[in-house]
Assembly symmetry: C2
Homo-oligomer: 129 residues x 2
């Protein structure tokens, strides 16, 4: 029953991206947009949508003879899923290790830094409040 562990492939991310930015969309609109942005043929987009429906990542409703698609998993859920995956696989679950690896390679902008500090402060409060 649970649609937990829904992993998305690269191509599927593109489709979801599209759905996340603008909620219920018809196949028509989706194929059009993805045709432009990804250069896909109509079939490609529709196939991906089917697969996503099968996985439970998107839901459909049929108004008359036209199907509309809605995301069933939020971007956050999907992102979190993959992130935890990566964290486990590549950093033995250590977030700080991940962050330090990133900062070692590219400097953070002042903005990012500010944001990160804010996030940590918040996490701290929520954590032991």
């Amino acid at each position: 029953m649970e649609k937990e562990n829904i992993a998305l492939t690269d191509a599927e991310w593109s489709v979801m991206e599209c759905l996340w930015t603008h909620a219920p969309r018809t196949g028509r609109e989706l194929t059009e947009e993805l045709g432009k942005t990804c250069g896909w043929s109509r079939s490609t987009t529709l196939t991906l949508l089917s697969r996503l429906e099968a996985k439970g990542a998107v839901g459909t409703e049929s108004d008359g003879r036209v199907k509309t698609f809605v995301p069933r998993v939020s971007r956050e859920e999907a992102a979190l899923r993959e992130t935890e995956d990566l964290l486990t696989r590549a950093y033995r679950g250590s977030l700080s290790l991940m962050v330090s690896t990133l900062t070692k390679k590219q400097a953070l902008s002042r903005e990012e830094l500010e944001e990160l500090y804010a996030i940590l402060k918040k996490a701290e409060e929520d954590g032991h409040a």
Copy 2:
């Protein structure tokens, strides 16, 4: 020439993991260990090693008739590669968005927090020194 964009698959990560923890290893040792930890047959491990060699992720040396394998990419490189990928795909490149998504779901331990603060401080210094 460049062996830049070397993406690793799940199974390949397991092999690299093995190689990263202990440098030059013979196929023998690797198949043994991975047989235990992953339940793979000899062939599976060897096949993966070949593929990794083809990709340039591991190098080999033949002492006599026994091959020894060494990693050609560091864990950091591999991890960074995937992390940037994920960051782009799932968080539009925003590290802070990623961290906040994570902290929203699971509280960080005091330790992690300390470490993260330290990392940020360091990044700050390095950044505009």
